[in-house]
Amino acid sequence: MEMTGNDFFRRIVLVVDDEAVNRNMLGAILEQKYDVLYAENGRQALDTLKGHGSLISLVVLDLLMPELDGYAVLASMQENSELSKIPVIVLTSEKDAEVKSLQMGAADFLSKPYDLPEVILARVKHAIKLYEYATIIQATEHDRLTRLYTSEYFFQYAEQYEVHNRAQQMDALAINVNRFHLLNELRGREFGDMVLCTLADGVREFSERTGGIACRANADTFYLYTAHQAEYTSLLESLQKKLSAVLPMPEINLRLGMYASTSSPCPLVQRFDRALYACNSLRNAEQGKPSVAVYDEAMLAREVSGAGA
């Protein structure tokens, strides 16, 4: 069987129950697959959680306990940025408690008397897996510098959107900075990063306004997947204006390539490749003036003839 990320090491699960018999029985089931920590009440549970933090993969939590009950533990965990990410499965025999605990952030519940060991282990495994996937997504979904999507997630979400909104006309835009590498060379990387963040802010504002999404595709190139607009010169001008607050105008030249929604249908990635081709075709555009190019039949013919040369 192929090893997955789930199998490399034993996770730690915290069992919280004031009844020794219950702790022992649940612990015996979980110890087959996990390292198990125990707490007899809510106070001990929170102390253990604060001591171990995100090393704990999941909490199995009884609700009615002395000292501090399960609801108070749930509430405390939700208030802590680290602990709130740890999934909690509550133990309960009451329907009202199921609803309340789910509303308070519990990931799942286990009934009392306990389900079969196989059911308990499956639900624990599932909750841990979902939590770990969510953590990975959070860590990789956004570009570290600009906080726009990374291209992998951008295309995933754009494709999902396409499936559910086939009638909506969406344009593919590529925006970058003419000769950005020179800017980095002359002004330093930190300055270049500041330019990129400023650009990203403008791109984000536009995408939020038009109902699209945006990513940092690479280095200084941004992709925008947006509802069709009549023109994009004003977008470039607003981005240029944002940048002029941080550096002199002639130093930077923005360019935009567009593959329109009304063009020949092709896969999403290819649409952005074409938008980028159009964008890069403006290499020699007039300095200081924003430039927009549309990928059309003529450009396709040039691209094809260039490839065949």
């Binding site: 018999v21 029985m25 009615l64 025999s93 008397p113």
Partner: protein, 113 residues
């Protein structure tokens, strides 16, 4: 001595209890002995007599949970019924239910000798 056989005769749902204990008989019997050592089976009477229904609910609820996990059905059933009445803080005479529970509890404890 409490054994799997005597538990079956007592009326416990042994298969269910064993399943929760990974079908380990020694472990299940250890848990049963631990469970019936709980002093609350006795102290619950005084708590009920004092009419402290909050405390009585807490105790009955805890015992219900353990008895359910151990599948000690003859004791579980009266405790479960009592717990639901106490959950609603019903003003009633709890002694018949307590006595019913205690009789079954005493029967099981007697098997230890």
């Amino acid at each position: 001595m409490i054994t799997i056989e005597t538990l079956k005769e007592f009326g416990a749902d042994v298969n269910e209890g064993l399943a929760r204990c990974l079908n380990k008989e020694d472990f299940y019997l250890k848990m049963v002995n631990m469970g019936i050592s709980d002093p609350r089976f006795v102290t619950l009477k005084d708590v009920l007599a004092s009419k402290d229904l909050d405390a009585a609910f807490e105790q009955a609820h805890a015992l219900k949970g353990v008895l359910g996990n151990l599948a000690l059905t003859p004791i579980f059933e009266p405790v479960s019924e009592m717990t639901e009445l106490l959950r609603a803080r019903t003003d009633t005479d709890y002694m018949p239910l307590y006595d019913k529970m205690k009789a079954q509890y005493d029967k099981l404890v007697a098997l230890k000798e």
